[in-house]
Symmetry: C2
Subunit: 150 residues, 2 copies
DNA sequence: ATAATATTGTTGTAAATGCAACAAAATGGC
DNA sequence: GCCATTTTGTTGCATTTACAACAATATTAT
């Protein structure tokens, strides 16, 4: 019954592909939108947590954020007490790009959920959250170099 | 309510990441497993259709398959009547790798669906299929260079 | 049958991705 | 307080990804 996971993969790649094409309009290259929206929505988040949240390699996140900073979409601020971490914030430019990202996301959402009733969409969300919780345990396990048995 | 799409993105990236790490064991590098399983399951498929099926750029699929061929996992065969297309088939080596890919997929599946009843898993699958159908229309539209209005 | 368009496949190039390895600060155990 | 471990961040390198542009065959329209 692993069709479920294949469906998820197909949907995710299609959506990501669409977003990447559409966000060129605001000078965002492949993947950058993922980070920017979350930084806007979680001001002060650090990149390590952001990578975990997005489920992407730490070093990939590092470079994506580096580029966002270079382009002036976000800025890194030193923490008052912890000298190691750098807190991330959207700049004015980042904030200005946000509404488009939000609108696009909502549009894709409405396209994706077309024909589903409110209850169905709700049920889908609940189920997906549970799946995500289940799978993120394994993701962290495997990412840390451990081996799953099967 | 676009949390649904974010959940899907998180799950897909986590799963893909896990698979990529686990399939190094059989010399498959990033993404290759996607193509190989589908070629095994759809003998004679052509790469254009495969790219559509997976929802990946045609040229990305071309190179992934090229590499699979070079490594001896699949072979391209000329079609009898159509001189342009090349039909894809798994080789003996490809077939030998398949059981592991299948087992891994099933394991991830059972992990992902842990705690869901049969009915819930079923419902999830049905809903995801509908979402996928909805979104693939837009994917093809945007991929072909058209612009969505929103 | 011919011309116009669509399909399928390839290659050049630029960029993102992720692993390995490293460094430095923070945290936890004793 | 001190040492071991964990967390956080970075860079070098190899690979994948995708866009652009092209070529060749197939399909459709006239």
């Amino acid at each position: 019954m692993k069709e479920i996971l294949r469906e998820i993969g197909m949907i995710a790649r299609a959506l990501d592909s669409i977003s990447n094409i559409e966000f060129k309009e605001v000078e965002l290259t492949k993947g950058q939108y993922l980070y920017l929206v979350r930084i806007v929505e979680h001001p002060g988040i650090i990149q390590e947590k952001l990578a975990e949240m997005i489920k992407v390699d730490r070093t990939t996140a590092a470079r994506a954020i580096q580029k966002l900073e270079l382009q002036g979409f976000v800025e890194k601020k030193d923490d008052d007490t912890n000298r190691k971490i750098k807190r991330l914030f959207a700049t004015e430019k980042g904030m200005q790009a946000y509404p488009l990202l939000k609108r696009e996301g909502e549009h894709s959402d409405s396209v994706a959920l077309a024909g589903l009733s409110e209850e169905e969409a709700d049920m889908l969300f609940q189920l997906l959250q549970r799946v995500r919780h289940n799978i993120e345990v394994d993701w962290e396990f495997v990412k840390k170099g451990n081996k799953r048995a099967y």
